[in-house]
């Protein structure tokens, strides 16, 4: 690991983080943690509060209430936030480059600010992206702008990379390349916090996910636990299934559709299956693994009704 800084438990921590736009609550008392050294996926629908949260973390916007720490810097204070941004790389939708500089100048300029700049990564990416070094950045195509922004962000040797929808608008080859960059940065010891709509890519590289809905955290778990423990159980019953019959630890949601009773379990699926089999008139109970996509969709369907 290249970062020799003091080992801290969390790269990002928020407590009751809240943002109002007028009377609209974009972020509502968000308390979350991003453990250092992880690749954490930040999921949620459009308007769920992902970008507002990221903007507050970066000090680009003040919270209405609540607190947050990014690499031990208080996000509410202005000076620490500048220090903090030296150690945090951010790639958002707006790929901010200085239009009058060429790619070469842009790289040299950025490099001069960061003692942790990694020339190996920079050269490798320059080679792979085949960027025109002497072209002014304002004359770059959209794809090349993105590649330049990624090169700058990933070569900085940042401790924390915050990426807002990084693969949005990238073709599949570039999107996979980006995931590879994320994995490489994580191998260097960086923490990656990235928002995404694309559940499949989160499932591929993240170790943790945070799912927010209407400004609140609705799911905080690891991908390993999802594939190990989350299950859908389905049983067929001739008799009506009494409500409350499945008040068992791990049952997140019960849906009855005619004779089919479907249970979403976050853990404890064996015991739940036993209970379902024991129920009157119950026949076979199927236990089906769940994908992250299904869990996300279920979690966004509203409050559980057990």
């Amino acid at each position: 690991m290249e970062h020799s800084t003091l080992k801290r438990a969390h790269a990002i921590e928020t407590e009751g983080l809240t943002k109002f736009y007028g009377t609209f609550e974009a972020v509502r008392g968000l308390t979350m943690r991003v453990p250092a050294g992880t690749i954490t996926g930040f999921l949620g629908q459009n308007g769920a509060g992902k970008s507002s949260t990221i903007r507050m973390l970066l000090g680009m916007m003040k919270p209405t209430a609540g607190t947050g720490r990014v690499l031990d810097f208080d996000i509410a204070e202005e000076r620490p936030s500048i220090e903090m941004r030296k150690r945090v790389a951010y790639v958002g939708e707006d790929k901010r480059l200085y239009d009058y500089m060429t790619v070469r100048q842009m790289i040299a300029f950025t490099k001069s600010f960061y003692p942790t700049w990694n020339d190996d990564v920079g050269k490798k990416l320059l080679d792979e992206f085949r960027l025109p070094l002497d072209r002014p950045t304002k004359k770059l195509s959209k794809g090349m702008r993105t590649q330049t922004a990624l090169l700058l962000a990933f070569s900085r040797g940042a401790e924390l990379l915050i990426l807002d929808e990084p693969t949005e608008g990238l073709d599949p080859v570039m999107a996979e390349k980006l995931l590879e960059l994320v994995v490489g940065a994580a191998a260097d010891g960086a923490t990656i916090f990235f928002s995404s709509h694309n559940v499949a890519e989160v499932e591929q590289i993240a170790d943790r996910i945070l799912l927010i809905d209407r400004g609140q955290l609705v799911l905080d778990t690891t991908l390993d636990l999802i594939s190990q423990d989350f299950r859908r159980l389905r049983g067929v019953y001739d008799m009506p299934f009494p409500p409350g019959a499945l008040a068992v630890d791990g049952v997140e949601r019960v849906t009855v559709d005619g004779r089919v009773v479907s249970v979403l379990a976050s853990h404890n699926s064996s015991a739940i299956a036993e209970r379902m089999r024991a129920h009157q008139g119950g026949g076979t109970v199927e236990i089906i693994p769940l994908t992250l996509k299904e869990i996300v969709l279920e979690s966004l369907r509203g409050e559980p009704h057990v």
Partner: protein, 142 residues
């Protein structure tokens, strides 16, 4: 990298277990032999586009299980006295027998007019209902 395939995140088996099983399998089939080196954590993570923490965890666990040896600063090697090396011959026989049993089992179910999809679900249900319960269960603790 052709030795290992990209794990499939959606098949109900954690990526770390898929990778672990692939490495064990490579040792058992002789694709990897005692003393052979494994790719570095970074190289393997980048080529499979998976989390490096996952690769590190798999290497650590396989070291504890005596399959791999981790030499600090050099990398991971298939252990010379590892149990998978000793298993190879016996294990190959076992796997062949298991394959035969699976063939008979699937054939029997097909004769009973169980569709391939149904067979997959039945097997998956059996595997899901006990085998993976030994792991921790909540995600928020750290």
């Amino acid at each position: 990298m052709t030795l290992f395939l990209k794990p499939n995140p959606a098949n109900g088996v954690p990526i770390y277990l898929q990778l672990k099983e692939q490495i064990m399998h490579a040792c058992e089939t002789g694709a990897l032999k005692a003393g052979d080196s494994l790719p570095g954590i970074r190289v393997l993570a980048e080529s499979l586009v998976i989390n490096p923490n996952t690769v590190a965890r798999v290497y650590r666990e396989l070291e504890q299980e005596g399959v791999l040896e981790l030499r600090h600063g050099i990398g991971a090697f298939v252990a010379a006295t590892g149990r998978t090396t000793r298993w190879t011959a016996a294990r190959t026989g076992q796997m062949q027998a298991a394959q035969k049993a699976a063939k008979e089992f699937v054939g029997e179910l097909r004769r009973r007019r169980i569709e391939p999809d149904e067979i997959r679900r039945l097997v998956e249900a059996e595997l899901s209902s006990g085998a993976r319960q030994r792991f921790g269960r909540t995600g928020s603790g750290d």
